[in-house]
Subunit: 394 residues, 2 copies
């Protein structure tokens, strides 16, 4: 029997952690509170649409997506511009972007290379296209450039998929130098760099973003989304590429799977992005909203966690990655944590080869500020219990 | 070299016919005027959402779709109820429904059987899943039941795909008796009946619908959409099935490709459907709007077309299917029609085996009332010219 899909396993942890009284660091949905920051913009945008663009918004979109929206995206989100609105395809969130890329670029048995850990939602679309998912034997930032090159030469990937900023699940970012090397490798070894920038819009204030891979290599397909920084309920993401022939193939595939995204949500999204351009401080408010939660999490971990635990220090996004002592199995630790009233996602869900079972992910996206310290206290108590039990049995 | 995709060929005809001065019977988009009938409902719905359901509408939907919307659909569109809201998956229009069904049910080299002519948009999703598309050698209603059974036994389809009401491209409907036979065959020969009811909501007033295949066989997957009768810009369709295990598989696939549809458009759509339930006459207004265009087309064809042309008499939807004399090739006839200021879709685009090139499709969906008679005059003039030229050269 084959192993259950990661997404199915994840739902188990999500469900168990959503029970009454549990403080859950599992879910990675943006806080529903964040959309309230946009409420006035959305209100205004809906009024404009009903007055001026009614007919357009309730008709089919062209398959590539509303010009309006593509222009707003190219202005706001695509840094170091190599691409114009013509080089952007609108998708239903980043998940559809991944799915369309898999359907368009992958032939059976092609290798897709990912970091040591990666987003669990790529598993099913890649398997549907009969890709083989390969991963680096260590986190990219722990490997030498020649070590990375060796893996690339051995695997001969069709695609290298990375989350350059505040990655899911580790919260870490690729260094600028590493980005330059990856871009060079993509050109030298003829593979597509697929960068998933879903979290890039959530760089905490005063933490400028490093250049996108799109700005470094024309072999890049760059995935973006407004789900994390504006609202996931709009289902708006995109793929940008400097190579128009890639976009054209993806447009045909988008037509195959749903003809095009909803014109109404595209126009609402365009209108929100236009307002954002006029009020750039609003974006900082949202980033600061998450930064506060992250700081609460990090200071609580520092204060309460037992020795032998270490964690990443992210500068944006939602995730902290925790390493426990080698003897810890985060799947059984999860059960003890639940009994203590706290939930997290065991690390094994994010590995595509041999998992390190002593790891787990904490997400601050949907935990109220007031619950964070208490959640970590419970986690620390559960950790002490678990370690003394392991010690006792060994 | 392989033939260009039907959708690519179609775009050529669509584009040529959209040039200045051409009256186009090509496009099958619903008239943008139709959404104005809903304007007050949409306005009300947006106000309600901003007031009462803001948080919900801008968050992720559950993957299967908003309960609200699924309940509204099961109440309004699923006749002879065999299925509840639990048996419905929300999709981004009927195109995504077809794509998800192909991805979920088809294994490479499975046969998919379609009527003598069928919707051209099924080609690419089915080919992506490596299905073989087979078609009946004549229109279903021209075959005996034993003739139909013989084809089914020979082809051993995994899926039989039909458009039971006001079909694309012929405008014709399956008789009640034929539906019963197809349902029996599905159970006897173990295939899935996929019925595409995209046009079923457009039965002209006083033309009651025949039972859906969903109401006749539990082996049916029933596709529906609000694109044709409400607004395509919302991108809301669905799949209904009495067998929950089918729906569960499709939900997993929906999660794979885009996580779920936009909650905002789902809630707007639910709200429109609820209003529609309270004002059923509005639906009749829309049906009558298209019926008037259809009657204008049919009476003009009667009045102007040369002998040797015959056509279908639809009782709903957008399409009329025209048969010319055997010697006519509707692809070259298209060029002459363009010179006369009128466009249509050559019939060959709708065949999956040997095409009958003397056929073509006329769509009334987006032709203003005032253009229809003039359009047919031009078509008739072009037809006379084309026939005399054929006569002359032979």
């Amino acid at each position: 029997m084959s192993k259950p899909l990661k997404i199915v396993q994840y739902k188990y942890y999500l469900k168990e952690s959503s029970k009454d009284g549990i403080i859950s660091f599992v879910g990675s949905n943006p806080s529903s509170k964040a959309s309230f920051f946009y409420r006035a913009f959305i209100d205004q945008s809906l009024r404009n649409i009903m007055k001026r663009r009614f007919e357009e918004c309730f008709s089919y979109s062209n398959t590539q997506g509303s010009n309006h929206l593509r222009q707003a995206i190219s202005g706001l989100f695509i840094d170091n511009i190599r691409v114009s609105a013509d080089s952007i395809l609108i998708t239903n969130g980043s998940q559809q972007a991944i799915s369309l890329i898999a359907q368009t670029l992958i032939r059976p048995n092609d290798n897709v290379l990912v970091d040591h850990t990666s987003y669990l939602g790529i598993e099913k679309p890649l398997k549907d296209s009969r890709a083989r998912i390969q991963s680096f034997p260590k986190p990219l930032h722990e490997l030498s450039y020649s070590g990375i090159e060796k893996v690339i030469k051995y695997v001969q990937p069709k695609i290298l998929y990375v989350i350059p900023d505040f990655a899911n699940p580790t919260g870490q970012s690729l260094t600028g130098e590493l980005r330059t090397f990856l871009a060079e490798f993509a050109e030298r070894y003829r593979f597509f760099l697929v960068e998933d920038r879903s979290y890039s819009c959530l760089a905490y204030p005063y933490n400028p973003l490093l250049p996108s891979l799109l700005s470094l290599s024309s072999d890049t397909l760059s995935i973006g989304s407004i789900s994390k920084c504006i609202a996931p309920g709009l289902r708006i993401g995109w793929i940008a590429s400097a190579q128009i022939n890639n976009i054209n193939k993806l447009v045909l595939q988008k037509e195959t799977v749903d003809l095009g995204s909803s014109m109404l949500v595209q126009e609402i999204s365009a209108s929100i992005l236009e307002e954002l351009r006029k009020s750039p401080k609003l974006m900082d408010t949202i980033k600061a909203f998450y930064q506060r939660r992250m700081e609460l999490l990090l200071s609580s971990l520092e204060k309460y966690m037992p020795e032998d635990f270490s964690w990443t220090i992210p500068h944006g996004g939602f995730f902290v990655w925790v390493n426990g002592p080698k003897s810890l199995d985060s799947r059984s630790f999860f059960q003890r944590a639940l009994l203590n009233g706290v939930g997290f996602t065991p690390g094994c869900l994010f590995y595509y080869k041999k998992p390190q079972n002593n790891t787990f992910r904490l997400s601050i996206s949907d935990v109220p500020d007031t619950d964070i310290e208490e959640g970590v206290k419970r986690l620390a108590k559960a950790a002490s219990e678990e370690l003394s039990q392991i010690h006792h049995s060994s």
